[in-house]
Amino acid sequence: SQTIHQWPATLVQPVGSPLSLECTVEGTSNPNLYWYRQAAGRGLQLLFYSVGIGQISSEVPQNLSASRPQDRQFILSSKKLLLSDSGFYLCAWSVQGFGNTIYFGEGSWLTVV
């Protein structure tokens, strides 16, 4: 069966510091990969998606970037965090071409202070 791992689970970072969240998927090949953000009182917002190694599409202009160095690895980064970057970040995957059934990881809680 497929599993998705995401870390770290919780982090508190000062404004202006860098960020790296990592996600890996097991048990499947060539998945679509996604980064979503969930802010308090709001639904989930798609930030980035990837259909293959090195292929990243951004949905929302922001202070963040994503990379996919390996087939089942997805990384969310920032060079300098802003207070507004605080939130719950979720990595997710779907079968290639079936983006209507998305499976989420456990999430990473980011607080920027």
Partner: protein
């Protein structure tokens, strides 16, 4: 106006009650409809997936889509305390499904008390 509207609740019901959770949407191009369950501080878990109008049943859960009124529902029969969670509806059009662009409601907080 948000593309998907969902009453955030909170909704509190006694154990064994029938729960009705609802969303409305504005984009007539949406064809795929999902319900996710999210426990506190956890990632959402896919519960139900339906395509176009109609009903889909899975155990105690029934998803219902009425495209004519742009209304989607999730019914939980014989609710249990373990059903206490936030329930998120999500929609997508045909193009959005190819790359996972789902539009989510903000979620309804449900508490089932013993």
């Amino acid at each position: 106006q948000k593309e998907v509207e969902q009453d955030p609740g909170p909704l509190s019901v006694p154990e064994g009650a029938i729960v009705s959770l609802n969303c409305t949407y504005s984009n007539s191009a949406f064809q795929y409809f999902m319900w996710y369950r999210q426990y506190s501080r956890k990632g959402p878990e896919l519960l139900m997936y339906t395509y176009s109008s109609g009903n889909k049943e899975d155990g105690r859960f029934t998803a219902q889509v009425d495209k004519s009124s742009k209304y989607i529902s999730l019914f939980i029969r014989d609710s249990q305390p373990s059903d206490s969670a936030t329930y998120l509806c999500a929609t997508a059009n045909a193009g959005g499904t190819s790359y996972g662009k789902l539009t989510f409601g903000q979620g309804t907080i449900l508490t089932v008390h013993p």
